[in-house]
């Protein structure tokens, strides 16, 4: 089996296996395990893993400031710097905040994504031409996915709060704005799944990307797809007793867990996949979420030209001053008529 298929199928089989485990588990007497023990365990692993990884990161020395070539660094007063230079190559904390905000909220690095392609070109003697063109689809897929996921997560707060806060109800209203189908279709759910399918298709159809994609890249995609699809199926097709679901969810966050009877197995599939996502999060590429705040080429003011930064891992270097050198070779230098500082 070739490289791509192995990584693709292992991840797919893992997610399908998780679905089967939860489905079978919910049919047996193990509902307390899947409804209470696993969620608490997942939350514990998530927080513990997050703190562990952040401590690890905090102990790594911070590298030198990296001014980016995308913007003109602050220099002689007559060299022009526009707003985009200041944002891309910030010299003050204010513009640094601007750069970080653009990166975190608008995915600026992805927006600058280029694609390098050989395009057919009859005018060229070789019949093709190498072009680097601005490729925004990845940015669009990524930002659609992330914001849809955020809305979906916030919307789920209606199961974990009582009374449900006004902003959450408002968000839900906006999300179901078009009021088609019963229950009303949430736009965020549709966008989430469509964006995920795009991100998955992108990995599979682009040969270079497929070559570097590992099981760890496919697994989160399949897992979140599984969560999205099970959630959508639960809302629109295999309906469950939603009051009992909220009772279980509230029980979890009020620390008085209960497992009401009569919740369909699809709920446990959904919940179990979410738990796996939480437990998997700190040990995977998903840590880019806290990691983006610590990107060294983004989160430091590029002030190397006027502030001295000492490399934290500099070691003492043994060097020979010129006079020591001359002392060692003076006779040979005089013999070869090389001028010396001291004659003897």
């Amino acid at each position: 089996m070739d490289f791509f298929k192995r990584h693709f199928l292992v991840a797919l089989a893992a997610v399908l296996g998780l679905v089967v485990v939860a489905y079978v588990g919910a049919q047996t007497k193990l509902q307390i395990l899947f409804g209470v023990v696993v969620p608490y365990l997942a939350a514990l692993i998530f927080v513990e893993g997050l703190v562990y990884r952040l401590i690890q990161w905090a102990r790594s020395p911070v590298p030198f400031r990296i001014p980016t070539t995308a913007g003109q660094n602050r220099t002689l007063p007559w060299i022009k710097r526009d707003l985009d230079d200041k944002l891309d190559n910030p010299d003050t904390f204010k513009y640094l905040l601007g750069r970080m905000a653009l990166e975190i909220l608008a995915f600026r690095s992805l927006f600058r994504n280029l694609r390098t392609e050989l395009r057919k070109d009859p005018d060229n003697p070789e019949g093709a031409r190498l072009i680097h063109w601005s490729y925004k689809w990845l940015w669009l897929g990524a930002i659609a996915f992330h914001y849809a996921f955020l809305v979906v997560v916030l919307r789920h707060l209606r199961f974990f709060t009582e009374p449900v806060p006004m902003p959450i109800q408002l968000l839900e209203h906006m999300d179901g704005f078009f009021q088609f189908f019963v229950p009303a279709v949430y736009l965020s759910g549709v966008i989430l799944v469509v964006a995920l399918f795009y991100l998955l298709a992108r990995r599979i159809t682009n040969p270079t990307l497929r070559y570097i994609s590992l099981a760890a890249d496919y697994f989160p995609l399949f897992l979140i797809l599984g969560i999205g699809i099970s959630g959508i199926l639960m809302r629109y097709v295999y309906k469950v007793d939603i009051v009992a679901v909220k009772q279980l969810a509230l029980g979890l966050v009020t620390l008085h867990p209960v497992v009401p009877a009569g919740i369909g197995p699809i709920f446990y599939v959904h919940l179990f996949l979410v738990c796996v996502l939480f437990a998997y999060f700190p040990f995977s590429k998903l840590m880019h979420a806290p990691g983006v705040f610590l990107s060294p080429s983004r989160n430091m003011v590029a002030n190397n030209r006027w502030v001295l930064h000492v490399n934290p891992w500099n070691y003492p270097v043994k060097f020979t001053p010129y006079l020591e050198y001359e002392d060692k070779f003076r006779e040979a230098m005089i013999e070869a008529d090389i001028p010396v500082e001291k004659e003897s």
């Binding site: 905090a58 102990r59 709060t161 009021q179 019963v182 309906k239 009992a244 909220k246 966050v253 620390l255």
Partner: protein
């Protein structure tokens, strides 16, 4: 051996001694605390409380009149809890939007045990469950669902129809 930095060309420098400490630890800690606080914020007011789910009240005058053993809904309770909204919308679509909307049979609903009902929220459902606040609203509020049934099907609307 260990104090030399090695690459494929051999040892070329002493291993760099990195000080064991937190670099920008206070910012990372602050970020972590802010994140955990934001996550915990919506749940904090209810921690430790026991919040009972809403109790569906079935003590309306019409239900009380029915003999104990005959008190059953048009569909099994478990099914109704999950699917009542779909059934009501199907009824609406049959009556208002289907091709045979005037025909008497589209207004007829036959339950699995063979009983026949008029397919109507106001006349059938709300006849027994006349306590909308205690039967419909409290669960809808509990899970923050806003059905648009009651924009038209008000209790007052039914009384008006009876008066005519």
């Amino acid at each position: 051996m260990d104090d030399k930095y090695k690459n494929e060309f051999g040892a070329f420098a002493p291993r760099p001694q990195v000080e064991k400490k937190f670099y920008d630890g206070k910012y990372i800690l602050a970020g972590l605390i802010i994140f955990l606080a934001m996550v915990a914020l919506p749940f904090l007011p209810n921690v430790g409380k026991t919040i009972p789910p809403p109790e569906r009240q079935l003590d309306t005058p019409v239900i009380k009149k029915i003999a104990e053993k005959d008190r059953k809904c048009i569909m099994p309770t478990e099914w109704m809890r999950a699917n009542h909204m779909q059934m009501l919308v199907d009824w609406r679509d049959n009556v208002v939007r289907s091709d045979e909307k005037g025909a008497p049979e589209v207004r007829e609903f036959v339950s699995p045990d063979g009983r026949k009902f008029l397919a109507s929220l106001t006349n059938t459902c709300l006849d027994c469950h006349s306590n909308k606040e205690k039967f419909c609203d409290q669960c809808h509020n509990y899970v923050a669902v806003v059905p648009n049934c009651f924009g038209c099907h008000l209790q007052e609307g039914k009384k008006l129809a009876e008066a005519k």
